[in-house]
Every structure is written in structure tokens, then in C-alpha cells.
């Protein structure tokens, strides 16, 4: 639930833009929030530093945080880590894009039709619960060892999450709103376009956000185990093989930055585009 504070913060930002909160206090409050938020990360680095200095853990396994950050810097500037970062990001976005293009319309159709939903509910739940990694060998046989196998498997996993969430959003549309539109003379198509679409948007965004995180996980793992020569996953596995511990720790941190960043982008989009979520 590390998403909570970020979401609350964005919601507050939105409130400030709307002029709900005063502006006099919030500079000070924002500053204090940042201070508080940096306590955890700083403490982690401090403990890491001391643990390394005091050799609580053998130094071969735990490089100092300074060396780790240095390794990120050198890898970024001359070691091709930036390239790997972009490759992983690009693969994640491709699989996410495929998942969204197929997941959203299908989710709407499935959610709007109780019979279709009931007949595929078990399948969706089953494959959603099946670890995507268990299907690696199958996808390797089907799609080979190239980029497409990695993207396909991540897209598959993300697609199910999106499909499920969109369908759920449509099914839970407020009946009163649909009735209201009907009384006003809206056709089925207009109800679909003007009411159901917006009604399912909040849940759709939950699905999209979960899906992009899942796609990243699957892509990184795929880069480790399905052949290939770039990507953060590949760099992590290479660091392990060559026992380059600073690079291993550094790449893990960079992967974290990527995951967190994607989440933040989606949360921002969500609070901007679905401003009514949870408030109506």
C-alpha cells in the first residue's frame, strides 16, 4: 500500500487547484511533508552506510551506498544503463499499450453483458491467478526468443487485469444514473457513450495502473530469462554472473525508480482525468 500517500498528496494538490484549501498555509505544509517523507529513505541509506562501514554484513555482499550510487552514475554515463532503462521502459509501454487496446473495449462488452461475463468469469480469474512466469517456456516456443515473446507475455498478463477491472467498473455503474439518462431520452448507444464510459473510468484507471506495474515485473523477469542482450533485467542477471555487486544494487534501485515513476505518472493522470473518483 505504498501508493496511498502519493494518491492522498495528489488529491490534496487537486483540492488546492480548486481553491478548496487556502494557499497561505500550504507552502509550509508542503515543506513539512517533504521533510517527513525523506526521513525513511535517508534513514535507510544511513543504516546501509553504517552496516557497510562496520562490516555487519561481509563487504563483498554489501557495497557501500556511495559506491552503489557511483556505479549508477558511471553506468548511466558510459556503461549503457540508460539504454537498458529505455529498452525496458519501451517494452513495458508496448505490452501495456497492446493490453489496453484489447482490454478496455472487451472489458466494456463483457461488463455490459451479464451472460458473457458469467461464462468467462472463471477463465479470467483462473489465468489472472496463474503466475505469468509459469507461461514463459510456452511463450518461448510460440514466439521464439525475440522481443515479441517478452512483450506478448507481459501484454497477456496486463490484458487480463485491465479486462477484469473495466468489466467490474461497468457492472458496478450506478443504476440511478443509467435510469436518469433513460428518462431524459438517451438511446442505448448514448447511455453507453455518455454514462457507462465515465462510470467505469475510475475502475478502469485502477486496472491500467495495476497493469503497467505488472507489465514491468514480467518484462524485467523476461529480460533475465528469455534471451536478449539489453534491458534492466539482463543487466541485473549479468551483474549477478560477473559478481558486480555495486552494479547489481544500482540496477535494482534504477528498476525501482522506473516502477515508481510509472506509478506516479498514472496516479497523476488518474487524479486529473477522473477527478470525481471516490467523491460521488
Amino acid at each position: 500500500m505504498e501508493l496511498r500517500p502519493a494518491k492522498a498528496r495528489l488529491a490534496q494538490g487537486h483540492a488546492e487547484r480548486l481553491g478548496i484549501l487556502g494557499t497561505g498555509l500550504h507552502v509550509d505544509a508542503a515543506w513539512r511533508r517533504w521533510m517527513l517523507m525523506s526521513v525513511g529513505p535517508l534513514a535507510l541509506f544511513a543504516i546501509w552506510y553504517v552496516a557497510h562501514e562496520q562490516a555487519w554484513v561481509t563487504q563483498r555482499l554489501l557495497p557501500s551506498p556511495v559506491r552503489t550510487l557511483q556505479s549508477i552514475w558511471t553506468n548511466m554515463t558510459q556503461g549503457g544503463m540508460g539504454e537498458d532503462f529505455l529498452r525496458t521502459l519501451w517494452r513495458t509501454l508496448q505490452s501495456f499499450g497492446i493490453a489496453a487496446v484489447f482490454g478496455v473495449p472487451l472489458g466494456i462488452v463483457v461488463g455490459a453483458n451479464a451472460k458473457i461475463y458469467r461464462s468467462i468469469e472463471f477463465l479470467v480469474d483462473f489465468f489472472r491467478s496463474t503466475p505469468a512466469t509459469a507461461m514463459f517456456p510456452l511463450f518461448m516456443i510460440l514466439f521464439g526468443l525475440g522481443d515479441f515473446a517478452k512483450i506478448a507475455i507481459a501484454a497477456f498478463a496486463a490484458w487480463l487485469v485491465i479486462l477484469f477491472n473495466v468489466a467490474y467498473g461497468v457492472m458496478n455503474a450506478r443504476q440511478t444514473r443509467i435510469l436518469a439518462a433513460r428518462v431524459m431520452g438517451a438511446s442505448r448507444l448514448r447511455i453507453f457513450r455518455d454514462v457507462l464510459f465515465y462510470e467505469c473510468l475510475p475502475q478502469t484507471f485502477v486496472g491500467l495502473r495495476t497493469a503497467v506495474s505488472l507489465a514491468l515485473v514480467v518484462i524485467v523477469v523476461a529480460e533475465m530469462f528469455i534471451g536478449g542482450d539489453d534491458g534492466l533485467g539482463k543487466r541485473i542477471i549479468d551483474s549477478q554472473i560477473t559478481f558486480d555487486m555495486p552494479q547489481l544494487y544500482g540496477t535494482i534501485l534504477v528498476s525501482g525508480v522506473l516502477g515508481y515513476g510509472l506509478n506516479l505518472v498514472f496516479l497523476t493522470l488518474e487524479t486529473r482525468l477522473v477527478h470525481w473518483a471516490g467523491r460521488s
Binding site: 480548486l18 478548496i20 450506478r174 440511478t176 444514473r177 435510469l179 436518469a180 433513460r182 428518462v183 431524459m184 431520452g185 438517451a186 448514448r190 455518455d194 454514462v195 465515465y198 473510468l201 477527478h275 470525481w276 467523491r279 460521488s280
Partner: protein
């Protein structure tokens, strides 16, 4: 069955032989009534007697098992209606500003923008608004949201307006204000209105005619005239005639609760 395309002058809604049951439980077994044109009719009765069922069937939101409902000889499809829901929070579109919510039914009717603006301006003039229509529904209070909801239903100049317990989610102070607002607008426009209320005081205060229903299967316990002068004000509530009507209606209601 009588030919309903013929209707008594002054009658707007003609209901004949209305039948409805839920899972084998009859709620209406051959219900007949004439609702007058340009008047406000309140529907009141014991819990679960089918007050909301009645207006939902008349408004075309709920199918019925048998019988006929006509509006000056026309069907519901040929009639322009407005409907105000009890739950304004779930009836308004939170993704649109209040103003766009009011625009929406006109857009559905294909009214051009300039004409829409003109009509809404005219509508706003009849209301005593103390809030900004450019806000989103969730930024407004309950009373303000229900006001928007009422405006949305009135902007198309409906022939009939249905209101299902419109003020029951509001506090008493707001209810008093909203009643007067609604009375003022409906009288000014001469719209036929059918209001369901679970509050006898409110039902009488707003109505020209009070329809008292029995327990299910619902029959007419009494269809009372409310000859109190308009405009009514909170002082009306202590008027001797008001008090007399209320006492009588309460007696009918209690008989209806005990009876059948």
C-alpha cells in the same frame, strides 16, 4: 376496456386497470385513477404500499403486468417527462459541471447551443440560486445538488414532472427552503407534477390533490383536495385548515395501516 384516447377535460394522466406483482405478491390489482393537469399530486401511504412503484410505472421506468396509462391520450413515449430521484448524488453526472448536467437533456433533444443557453438562463431566473453552476456536483451541498437535479428535469419543459421523495435525504431546514423553491417554480410553470413523499406534512404542503394509498395490494384510501391558498409559506403549516386536513389524512392513513 374503455377507450382511453378519450379523457375527461382537465385530466392529464389516466390510469386504468393497472396490475403489478412482485414475485407473486400483488401490489396493484386493477388500479384506476385520473390525475389532473397542471396540478401537483402527492402520493402518500404506508411503508411498502408501492408509492414509488406507482410513479415508476407511470413514468415508464418500471414495466407493469397489465392495464393502461395514458397522458391526454398519448403514451409515455410520446410524452416529455422529467424525473427527480431521491438520491441526487447518484442521479447527477459527477464528471460534468452542474451547468453541463443541466445542458445534457437539451443536448439529447438536439437543441442548438444558443437556444440551450437561452432556456437555461430563463430557468435560472426562476430559481433563487446562491451557488455557482460552474462547480462539479460533488463540490455542492445536498440541497444544491438536488436543486441542480430539479433544474435538469425542468429545463426540457416537461409535460409531467415526477419526484420520488426528493427531499428525504436533506435536513429539515434545507427541506423547508427546497419545498418553497419547488412550489414557486411549479406554480409559475403550471407543470403537472406527481410527488411521492413519506412525510405527510410535506405531501399536503405541496399538493393540490393528495392521494392516500392503502397497504398492498394498493387501493385508493382517499383522493383529497387540498384547497389551501397559494403561495403557501411555513406559516401555512399552523393554519387551522392545514391542521384539519392533516388530522383527517392521518386518520385515513391509520385506518389504512390497520385495515386489510
Amino acid at each position: 376496456m374503455a377507450d382511453l384516447t378519450w379523457f375527461t377535460p382537465g385530466t392529464h394522466i389516466t390510469v386504468r386497470g393497472l396490475r403489478k406483482s412482485f414475485g407473486g405478491n400483488p401490489v396493484y390489482v386493477g388500479f384506476d385513477i385520473d390525475l389532473p393537469k397542471g396540478r401537483i399530486v402527492s402520493v402518500f401511504g404506508p411503508n411498502g404500499c408501492g408509492k414509488s412503484t406507482f410513479i415508476n410505472m407511470v413514468a415508464g421506468l418500471l414495466p407493469f403486468d397489465g392495464g393502461e396509462i395514458l397522458f391526454e391520450g398519448k403514451t409515455i413515449r410520446e410524452t416529455r417527462i422529467g424525473y427527480v430521484f431521491q438520491n441526487y448524488r447518484e442521479a447527477l453526472f459527477p464528471w460534468q459541471r452542474a451547468l453541463d448536467n443541466i445542458h445534457y437533456p437539451l443536448k439529447l433533444m438536439g437543441v442548438p447551443r444558443a437556444e440551450r443557453n437561452r432556456r437555461i438562463e430563463e430557468l435560472v431566473a426562476g430559481f433563487d440560486l446562491k451557488f455557482d453552476l460552474h462547480r462539479y456536483p460533488y463540490e455542492l451541498s445536498g440541497g444544491q445538488q438536488q436543486t441542480v437535479s430539479i433544474m435538469r428535469s425542468l429545463v426540457i419543459e416537461p409535460e409531467v414532472l415526477f419526484l420520488d421523495e426528493p427531499f428525504s435525504a436533506l435536513d429539515y431546514e434545507m427541506t423547508l427552503i427546497m419545498r418553497d423553491q419547488l412550489q414557486k417554480v411549479l406554480i409559475a410553470r403550471g407543470t403537472t407534477a406527481v410527488l411521492v413523499s413519506h412525510d405527510l406534512e410535506e405531501a399536503i404542503y405541496l399538493a393540490d390533490k393528495l392521494l392516500l394509498l392503502t397497504r398492498r395490494p394498493s387501493r385508493i384510501a382517499e383522493f383529497l383536495d387540498i384547497p389551501l391558498p397559494r403561495p403557501r409559506s411555513p406559516a401555512t403549516l399552523t393554519d387551522t385548515e392545514f391542521v384539519r386536513i392533516k388530522a383527517h389524512a392521518l386518520e385515513v392513513f391509520q385506518t389504512a395501516v390497520r385495515g386489510s
